[in-house]
């Protein structure tokens, strides 16, 4: 059917509206990127819009030389990489066992895990626990509590349950052990869900701020998000740093926002195909 006049008007209006929404999402970020590449005069006088004025990379050089941003980057990368790998292994292993309908104690185990989604000890007991474990100022304090995220485990379990039973049965007949079936057959077949969960946990580890603030005070253990928040909060942080080039705090802030975001922007196209699948799979299920 040919679109009527009304439909065409709507369509144009709709496209304009959506474009505006898209722009309002992008422009704030672009503004910060522009600032990070602008020279100080323009930044201080607040003239930078969405295009760098007096383009230069001095602020980046300054940030890498005079602030702990490299250490922060390294620590965050460590937590993200180790955390994501271990979380995938531990969650999928548990998910495999729980995906078997005959597993003895399955229902009880599910209650055991699911209960922790709805009730938790809260901040103070968790903090005291971390202290008595001697994990203060240890990057593992950011990793260990998040290796088994129940929600992610359930997503993996649901995926495993959707795989055909016959595969497991014929492997059993060939004498394969459960661990062999899990690691050699089920895991390679489940790359889509594992990629989805890897993305979600990597982003979670990369972005985690509060636990880092709670458990890490040693400047050598600083993470990127911690560094970023400290930087935005302390307007006069720069005064304490001796340097010949004085870069305005606003520019250094912009630089750290960009550095904190770029890794996510880089993997974003890769993960996009996965996360939509992931979330619709995990959405309220029947």
């Amino acid at each position: 059917m040919k679109p009527s006049l009304g439909e065409r008007v709507f369509s144009v209006f709709n496209s304009i509206l959506l474009t505006l929404i898209g722009l309002s999402t992008l422009l704030p970020f672009i503004h910060v990127v522009a600032k990070s590449f602008s020279s100080d005069v323009y930044v201080i006088s607040g003239q930078v819009g969405i295009w760098p004025l007096g383009f230069n990379i001095e602020a980046y050089k300054f940030a890498f030389k005079n602030t702990p941003i490299l250490i922060a980057f390294k620590n965050t990368a460590f937590v993200t990489f180790v955390g994501t790998c271990l979380a995938l292994i531990i969650s999928s292993a548990a998910a495999y066992s729980l995906s078997l309908p005959n597993l003895y104690g399955r229902k009880l185990l599910m209650y055991f895990f699911v209960f922790t989604m709805f009730f938790n000890g809260g901040l103070i007991p968790s903090f005291l626990l971390m202290r008595s474990l001697g994990l203060m100022n240890n990057l593992w304090s950011l990793i260990l509590p998040h290796l088994l995220v129940v929600y992610n485990m359930i997503l993996i379990k649901n995926y495993f349950e959707g795989l055909p039973d016959s595969i497991r049965e014929s492997a059993m007949i060939d004498g394969a052990s459960n661990i062999t079936i899990y690691s050699r057959i089920i895991m390679p077949m489940s790359k889509p869900i594992l990629a989805t969960i890897a993305v979600f946990s990597a982003v979670g580890f990369w972005n985690s701020y509060f636990n880092a603030m709670l458990y890490l005070s040693d400047p050598k253990k600083i993470t990127l998000q911690l560094f970023l928040v400290n930087l935005v909060r302390q307007a006069d942080l720069m005064d304490s740093i001796n340097s010949e080039i004085i870069v305005p705090p606003d520019t250094v802030r912009a630089v750290s926002v960009v550095i904190g975001t770029v890794p996510i922007l880089l993997v974003y196209p890769l993960m996009q195909e996965h996360f939509v699948k992931g979330i619709t799979m995990g959405s309220v299920k029947g």
């Binding site: 439909e7 898209g22 009730f119 000890g121 359930i154 998000q225 970023l228 979330i279 309220v284």
Partner: protein
């Protein structure tokens, strides 16, 4: 298979011991980092001092709870948690629904995908980054205040003005989460039979009528389930966001239960009092989750687990 099951649990466990090995790391981590802190809640009923330790601290019964419930500041943070959460619910909840309906009407697949790619992105940024971005945008000489000045209005120091701070919380949360929120509704929209639209067109329905009579009813069950599930976080105003963005000048309007627990517990070292506040929060959240899930199940036969 069924024969095996009949021989009892022990037989199964012995013959499938390796399944339990696979479960072991997850179980141990869950006990250590989830159940041990739950057990640790008992310090809310003790007078916990670091040097007396967990076991050495004396029991004091409901002393801390009596203090909590007679503390007027506690009611302030309770109110703040609730009202910020309600503001977010009222403003933000409808937005993904509208946005997904608009997106669904786009015929050009490339345009649609581009917009989707853009609006999903902020979901993946940390609150620290979002704070950095909006700190630049909303600062006194930032673009937003420039626009206000251009319109002849006074510049507003957004992050330190109690009158607008809750608005800042709602707006930044919307910026971060609305796009991502469309995914679930877009999925629901694909299940609407396209023939309904074609036949309604023949009957002379316009776009607006189609949305009211076909699209909305088509996703209504999803909307209701999402709404009910959202109710379970009625006391959850968005801890990390507020913790990163707030400051003493806006405590009156933005200090929420979790930030209060943090400051009394770890700032002022009143571990037991803060745990009592935290326990109150955990219990109320637990009840809300159970209730909302029961409602969702009753309404649609679906539930979160």
């Amino acid at each position: 298979m069924s024969k095996k099951r009949n021989r009892g649990g022990l037989y199964y466990v012995i013959h499938n011991w390796d399944l339990y090995i696979l479960l072991l790391p997850g179980i141990l981590l869950t006990i250590l980092f989830k159940y041990v802190p739950i057990y640790g809640i008992i310090i809310a009923f003790k007078d916990f001092k670091i040097f007396d330790g967990f076991w050495g601290s004396p029991w004091v019964g409901l002393k801390h709870f009596n203090r909590v419930f007679s503390d007027s500041y506690f009611y302030l943070v309770l109110w703040n948690s609730f009202i910020i959460s309600v503001y977010k619910l009222v403003w933000i909840f409808p937005m993904p629904i509208i946005l997904s309906i608009l997106l669904n009407e786009v015929r050009n697949i490339y345009f649609k995908r581009t917009i989707q790619t853009v609006v999903y992105l902020p979901h993946f940024l940390s609150w620290a980054v979002v704070y950095g971005i909006f700190y630049a945008l909303l600062s006194n000489d930032g673009p937003f205040n420039d626009i206000l000045a251009m319109l002849g209005m006074k510049r507003i120091p957004f992050f330190v003005t109690p009158r607008v701070f809750r608005g800042v919380l709602v707006a930044t949360d919307a910026w971060k989460s609305v796009g991502w929120g469309t995914i679930i509704y877009l999925a629901a929209l694909t299940s609407i039979d396209p023939e309904l639209y074609d036949s309604s067109k023949i009957d002379g329905a316009n776009k607006f009528q189609q949305v009211i009579y076909i699209t909305l009813p088509g996703i209504m069950s999803t909307v209701i389930v999402m709404l009910v599930l959202r109710l379970s976080s009625l006391l959850n105003a968005g801890f990390e966001q507020i913790f990163i963005m707030y400051n003493p000048t806006v405590y009156n309007v933005a200090d929420v239960i979790d930030t209060y627990v943090y400051r009394t517990g770890l700032g002022r070292q009143e571990f037991s009092y803060a745990s009592a506040v935290g326990l109150f929060n955990s219990v109320v959240s637990f009840i809300l989750i159970i209730l909302s899930n029961a409602l969702a199940r009753r309404y649609s036969g679906r539930s979160i687990w």
